[in-house]
Amino acid sequence: MGFTSAAFFAFTLLVAGIYFLFPKKNRWAVLLAASYLYYFLTSGSLLLLLIATTLITFLTALWLDFINRQFDQTKTAGVEELSREQKKAAAAQVKRKKQLVLAIGLAAVLGILAFLKYFNFFATNFNVLLAALSVPAAIPKFNLLLPLGISFYTFQSAGYLIDVFRGKIQADRNPFKFALFVSFFPQIVQGPISRYSQLAHQLYEGHSLDYDRIKFGAQLVLWGLFKKMVIADRAAVIVNTIFNGQNQYEGFTVFFGAMLYTLQIYGDFSGGIDVARGIAQIFGIDLVNNFARPLFATSIEDFWRRWHITLSSWMRDYVFYPLSLSRLFVRMGRFFRRTLGASIGKLMPTFTAMVITFLLVGIWHGANWKFVAYGMYNGLLIGLGILFGPQVSRLAEKLGFTPGRGFTRGLQILGTFVLVCFGRYFSRAASFMAALRLLDRTFSSFNPQVIIDGSLLNLGLDGKELIVLLIAIVILLTADYLQEKGIALRERLSRQVLPLRWLVYLMAIFAVLIFGVYGINFNASSFIYMGF
């Protein structure tokens, strides 16, 4: 029951109907029942793994809360008798205890993910190593099924635990409500990875039926379907031809495939998120946005502030910050300041933390060397930006450019897009070696003539289809451009006269119905990020 299937929309309509029929204070229970039903229908008995993660997280958070409260009581009870040193020692002891509890909880929750997603990758590579050393042994491999959305709900749960540990939020006392926070059906498939403080209370309180919300929600769903079915699934035809082919393409043709894949994955992922956000909005729930016009990024660093925002901000808050501020990294900073000088030395810990963070971003996508390479590629580009960005900016200004403005901004956006496309070779190719071969073939021939000689029409889409794709991309870029300029499109549309409004709606509906790419049984293909 994928996001673009008729069955899913029928299911959503039914749930919405029941939701608004229930008394307000019980509406959250409808969402929980629907979410668990949805998960069971798509994943069967793998639902047990979702329940396991939910329970472990819920109980660990309660334990952390218990330690916090115990400490607060001793503080208020005997504050006069304790000296400053004693108080400090007591606080340190509590912190150690909490760290241990957090470590147990995280090890269990992330352990499930690590085992299911990464064990076979580890076993394969370890066995290669054993064979290379001529050791006559091998780790067995398991036929593991990956539960739907595990990378998303695991990260959401882990973030919740760390927030309770840091005292940012209190532990949830209701296991059923908490189960809804982990499993909310529009977002479990491919995110966004939400924070408890932003989402939980919205899920728990009952929302009234609101025409504006339903209207805006439905518009967002329609826009998401347009991006997914008209753009992404159409671009996929060419992308698959080029990337699944036996290396018969070269030069610009391969890069054209990478460019289309960049647009495809943007349409696919952000389209899916728009469907999720639109449905949530109908229930009165605002899911956090995951994209901020990534194609208008002016650097790779800026790109990651605009692309899959909930993953990058998760990594920033729970990996990058703790790593950069850890004792080890502070000591490393001092060491490099002594050896490399103040200006570069100061940046070395940030650089190192950044590369490690992006290595994890890469591995998050899957157990494969190509994702390791994808993470490292992005991490190194951002790292180089940290180390040499200021010097490059100063040089550019001396040469008469104004970074971030006008023509120079356009150049930055174009350059970033090209760098992003090259990164996509790693995330799209079948393997790391395949990505290297494709890169090699891109540079082995200079053939810009393919743009006009009709070669691009032999990649699976004929001229008409290609024009539809091009127009759809222009619509997407125009919408993004207007939003980049600060124009709220849905609000602006709702102020137009009725006939114009409906003309736009009908055009959008027909665009999806007529130009959407359908497979067997009129189901659109599944989402790329569903596989992560």
Partner: protein, 75 residues
Amino acid sequence: MLDKILEVLATLRPEVDFTENHHLIDDGILDSFDIVTLVGELNDAFDIEIGVEDLLPENFNSPAAMLRLIERLQS
């Protein structure tokens, strides 16, 4: 103490007017790299230990907010 904070900020990002701006984080003027560097400098300058749990927008949105954080950590 505020002057010292402004001094640290000025070396970090000379082009920003820190006395005017009260939404340094919310408006994206200071990014995560700036924050990490800034925390290191403030720790050294005031002999404090700013922890991960203190890295909230409300603690870094303005020099005055940073001053409050530092005073809290010193007491």
